[in-house]
């Protein structure tokens, strides 16, 4: 029991279950899945599909935040990736060919890698605070995307490109598959190699890590590059889904959703230990919240108010002040019980 409460996944999962219950009450068919034309449909599938871009970005963001950093530029990178891909496809004589789409996607990803290296350079080499360093690209990035699209909304008509955002593979939405692949890749890459350990160690205690011989510079550049790479993939999914690159609105505010997903998932903004699984739950909570707002019949535009409520609630729950108060309260309830003490410690950490 104590273990369950002290797990950092506890509150996010509770939140997700509460949202599911609300949905089920408002819309009894919420959990039903059906197969139409060999494709999976249903509310849960919608949540997974619409939540995919946020999840992909949140995975990159988790690693950045674990190093005590933050990446504000992901929304702008989304827009740039979409703009690059669409303008290449539009400029090609055969927009429908797989080759064209492949070139477009690769070009978009390469540019994102350069942008990620740039962020990493500012943070790791010049030593600029992450929030400030990525603010630069956040500001200039959308302008650059506009430059690429020449201020137009680039609508593309390319069936292979459309697959990325709205296709199906083996009945499952392609975007969900991509998100799963990125998630698994990040999990394997950090947990099967020593990357995760070193990232956490740098995030928790940079000086101790330095003295232990950890090369933090390379690590920082890696995580910022990965974050930009993930953002570009999310940007391609979003653009493909709309079949258009809109430099102004593609990925607008998605950095905030991604950070929110990470925070809900229990990874502290102060850096250190991270949980990709938590981030997954966090991203699902956010997307389910949006869906819930729809199904319950609240005007969808009010979603942001609920997001504000969730951010506030999560922050207050994680705040040291709250923890201290709770700790005192729990101590006064169960004086001297050894179990209570460990639980309280775990919730602090």
């Amino acid at each position: 029991m104590n273990r369950m409460f002290s797990s950092r996944l506890f509150w996010p999962v509770v939140m997700l279950l509460v949202l599911f219950t609300i949905n089920l009450v408002a819309f009894p068919g919420f959990f039903s899945l059906e197969v139409k034309n060999g494709h999976l449909f249903g509310s849960l599938v919608d949540i997974a599909r619409n939540g995919a871009p946020t999840l992909i970005i949140a995975v990159g963001m988790t690693l950045v935040i674990a190093t005590r950093g933050i990446d504000l530029s992901v929304g702008a990178v989304c827009a740039i990736a979409g703009a690059v891909a669409c303008s290449i496809i539009l400029g090609s004589p055969e927009p429908g060919s797989i080759g064209t789409v492949a070139v477009a996607v690769i070009a978009a990803l390469l540019i994102a890698l350069v942008l990620g290296l740039w962020n990493g350079f500012l943070v790791a080499v010049l030593g600029i605070q992450p929030i400030i360093a990525t603010l630069i690209l956040m500001t200039a990035g959308r302008g650059a995307a506009m430059l690429i699209t020449e201020g137009q909304i680039l609508t593309v008509n390319s069936p292979p490109f459309k697959v990325i955002g709205s296709g199906f593979v083996l009945g499952i939405p392609v975007s969900v598959v991509i998100a799963a692949v990125i998630f698994a890749a990040a999990a394997l890459l950090t947990r099967r190699t020593a990357l995760g350990l070193l990232i956490e160690s740098v995030g928790i205690n940079p000086e101790a890590s330095r003295q232990a011989g950890v090369r933090s510079r390379g690590l920082l550049i890696t995580v910022y590059t990965f974050s930009a790479f993930a953002a570009a993939i999310a940007g391609l999914i979003l653009t493909s889904n709309q079949t258009a690159a809109d430099a102004n609105n593609t990925g607008l505010f998605i950095e905030l959703d991604a950070i929110l997903a990470v925070v809900i998932g229990g990874t502290s903004l102060a850096g250190g230990r991270y949980s990709l699984l938590g981030t997954l739950v966090g991203a699902l909570v956010i997307q389910t919240l949006v869906t819930t707002v729809y199904t319950v019949g609240i005007p969808p535009i009010a979603t942001m108010v609920f997001k504000a409520a969730v951010v506030t609630a999560v922050c207050l729950l994680q705040s040291p002040t709250t923890n201290a108060t709770f700790g005192r309260w729990r101590r006064s309830l169960g004086r001297g019980r050894p179990g209570t003490r460990t639980a309280e410690r775990a919730s602090v950490s």
Binding site: G143, A308, L316, T321
Partner: protein, 339 residues
């Protein structure tokens, strides 16, 4: 004798040169001076390329078009001087345009609506400040929550644009204070300049203002010196909330409407103006007048792009990003040299 007379002016010249160069490399004055030079340079470029660029009406219009941004930047300056940041200003601005438009539409009087908006946005700032201070939540996240809340409330009020027909607002929007010829300013400019003046006096002649600088220089030191650090840290967010509300009111004078999607990304403009105006993002150094210069630089770039005609407006963002980079690196260099 002759040596003396000739060397004296040389010495004086060298001393002046030394003064100038030390001012430019000081973390306190350096960035502001660079901004000033930059502003003059941009004007020179504009003046050399376009006829009528350096003229009274163009310069006054800079103020007319950016009055609300000046007010926002003033509030942001207080926050950034303490080492914090406020991401909610754009959304709060939009919220106050929505509150103004919808209340005026349902027949409230302007003399009630305006004070009400200012009180509401100040209270929102107070809540943010308390979240940051009591619950030790990072300013970035706390103001992010406020941003979500304010934008969400905008949509709750209405998703459509509401136009304003209230006679007081219309007359305030249209009244121009003329300086003869085509030179005139709006009431908003006067209000914005008043805000700047008050902010300047508060920052430089009040204990609150000096505590703001002290927090940015070292919160712990300020506390050990017996300054009211906690109270001041909360107050800067109240000030920023108030300024956002006031900026919203000025913005409705400018557009005569309220719209949920208005001023998306304005927080970035405000932050950029403050940074370009020479305020250190980690706090402690900066001037409110510098922030005004920052706003003017942004405004002038926009004007040039308008004059150019062929250059598209998205270049503005790229220029702002580039300037941000230059100033952030400049700050880094100037403060690193001092350590």
């Amino acid at each position: 004798m002759s040596i003396d007379t000739s060397s004296a002016p040389v010495d004086a010249g060298r001393r002046l040169l030394g003064r100038v160069s030390s001012a430019f490399t000081s973390p306190k004055y350096g960035p502001v001076l660079v901004t000033l030079v930059l502003l003059i340079a941009i004007f020179a470029i504009g003046g050399s390329r376009y006829r009528g660029f350096v003229s009274g009406p163009v310069i006054l219009n800079l103020f007319v078009d950016n009055a609300y941004l000046i007010v926002l930047a003033v509030g942001m300056t207080f926050v950034i001087l303490t080492g914090g940041i406020d991401l909610s200003v754009g959304a709060v601005l939009a919220l106050s345009t929505m509150i103004a438009a919808s209340l005026l539409q349902s027949g409230w009087s302007a003399s009630v609506v305006i004070p009400l908006i200012l009180v509401l946005t100040s209270v929102l700032g107070l809540l943010v400040g308390l979240m940051i201070h009591i619950f030790k939540i990072q300013p970035f996240i706390a103001t992010l929550a406020a941003m979500f809340l304010a934008r969400g409330l905008c949509y709750v009020i209405s998703k459509d644009s509401i136009s304003i027909t209230d006679p007081v607002f219309v007359s305030l929007a249209q009244t121009r204070i003329s300086f003869g010829g085509r030179m005139s300013i709006t009431a908003s400019v006067v209000i914005a300049l008043l805000v700047v003046l008050v902010a300047f006096l508060v920052l430089h002649y009040s204990r609150l203002g000096r505590t703001v600088y002290a927090i940015g220089g070292g919160e712990q030191s300020g506390m050990l010196m017996g300054l009211p650090v906690a109270r001041t840290k909360v107050l800067v967010y109240v000030i920023s909330g108030f300024c956002s509300g006031l900026a919203g009111v000025l913005f409705t004078f400018y557009t005569l409407s309220g719209y949920s999607l208005t001023a998306v990304g304005t927080e970035l403009d405000a932050i950029a103006a403050v940074v370009i105006g020479g305020t250190l993002l980690t706090g402690g150094y900066g001037f409110v007048l510098g922030s005004v210069l920052g706003v003017l630089v942004l405004g002038t770039i926009q004007t040039i792009i308008t004059f150019e005609g062929t250059l598209s407006s998205w270049w503005t963002r790229i220029f702002i990003g580039g300037l941000l980079l230059v100033f952030i690196v400049l700050q880094k260099v100037l403060t690193a040299r001092r350590r």
